[in-house]
Amino acid sequence: MAHFKKPEAGSWTEHFSTLGTEPVDYTDSIDPEFYEAEREAIFKKTWLHVGRIERLPKKGSYFTRELPVVNTSLIIVKGKDEVVRAFHNVCRHRGNKLVWDDFPNEETSGTCRQFTCKYHAWRYDLTGDLSYVQQEGEFFDLDKNQYGLKSVRCEVWEGFVFINLDPDAESLEDYLGEYGKGIKGYPFHEMTEVYSYRAEIGSNWKLFIDAFAEFYHAPVLHQKQAVKDEADKLMKVGFEALHYDLQSPHSMISSWGGMAPPKDLSMVKPIERILRSGLFGPWDRPDIEGLEPLPPAINPAGAVPWGVDEFEFFPNMSLLFWAPGWVITYQYWPTAVNKHIFEANLYFVPPKTVRERLAQELAAVTFKEYALQDANTLEATQKMLETRTVTDFPLCDQEILLRHLHKMAVDHVKEYQDAKAAS
């Protein structure tokens, strides 16, 4: 029995008719050749979120970003003109990595007036121009204008800094499309209390998106996290989303969330009752502008029991809005066909009191308990997919975002390969 209304077609999946309802082939998650193609066709051509603007508070603030999936390291810097720019982190003299601290492979950040290479002290200003060459007279007709840092497309949307390795890519705003427009105005800039997690995961990057883009698993995998009665009830009811939407290549799921605050206090753990917080975040909304009313793309069904929306910005960024007024971003950075780095950032409005601080602590701790459970199934899935004993998997209507994600990956790769073959 459906608890929430589905589209007229009878299911979300059939409503988006290009998806089909057949079982889905997961070769795209285990085939090394497909992975190499994805790096070119997807990661070198789409907009990738690399950090929040708050990491660049001043003129001259910078951070570096290691991006093995596109085989580069980037410097993201705010110039004297307040413009945020991105450069390949490579010195034009003899290719040393320009910005790093003690360990060349570790990311770093700071503030400076110019970048000076550790090797022979060539200097670059904040716009990437080569400004100084040590013993310039020893070179042969060196035109400094020809040796600026290699720049990379960099644009900022609502404080989220994105880069794109494709110089011909459409603008970030166009890329984010309807969702970008519909989310605009959410008070992200107020949410500067940050918890950043990183994990190495032994699976293809898409499998972790799969794990977070459906909540069909929640009553089962996370069963023990609810008190017994609640867990039993959740198992019986199962999971149904309030709403799904696709704006290819992006997609979203909107879910209810009765836990913030719960109707029945006996349904949550004792510490949640005292701190008034849990998986859905602190129950008491922060006192800031912009949460009421919410931007139109959030809670598209206009449902009263709404709890969380998750937007999947293709390829590797998820943005979650929780009803009590905080957000999470997830990112999935492939390092091999069967490995990736997972990053999660939790953003809260800075707490004003000890009580608010502890409520956020509980939300952050709870997040990690869930995430570890989610992460751990992935390696098992990857290993068994790699046996190729089974290749096609029947996905249900609550797994529509997975169907869409794998189709997007396959379509992007095919389009890229067709274009290459034609040229």
């Binding site: 940050v194 997972f342 009191t353 601080r357 992460a375």
Partner: protein, 108 residues
């Protein structure tokens, strides 16, 4: 030298749980037995409400050292709450080799 405010002297024997960072609290959780965590939980849980009320008398960005320690102790209570209330073990069940590092955190 007591670490905690005089009003919370009864919790002084748990002061090795006054740890400022998540990494330290998580490591101590993994190093502890359920009996140790249960003892901490049973002692601190009834004082959590008091600790919030006490801490709220001070500005969060300018806490006296002993109040800061009290908050760190309560953060440890939060850290052990999952093992005590649900897991019945220090580790997240079925989390096997999964590991996540908190590399940016607001420290009280």
């Amino acid at each position: 030298m007591p670490k905690l405010p005089a009003e919370f002297a009864d919790l002084e024997k748990f002061s090795d749980w006054c740890l400022p960072t998540e990494a330290e609290r998580y490591a101590k959780r993994l190093d502890s037995t359920m009996a140790q965590m249960q003892e901490l939980y049973d002692a601190t849980m009834p004082r959590l409400e008091d600790a919030c009320a006490f801490g709220d008398k001070f500005p969060l960005d300018d806490l006296p050292e002993d109040v800061r320690s009290l908050i760190h102790l309560m953060q440890s209570l939060v850290m052990v709450s999952f093992p005590v209330e649900v897991w019945k073990q220090p580790r997240v069940p079925d989390s096997g080799a999964a590991w996540a590092e908190l590399y940016v955190e607001p420290v009280v």
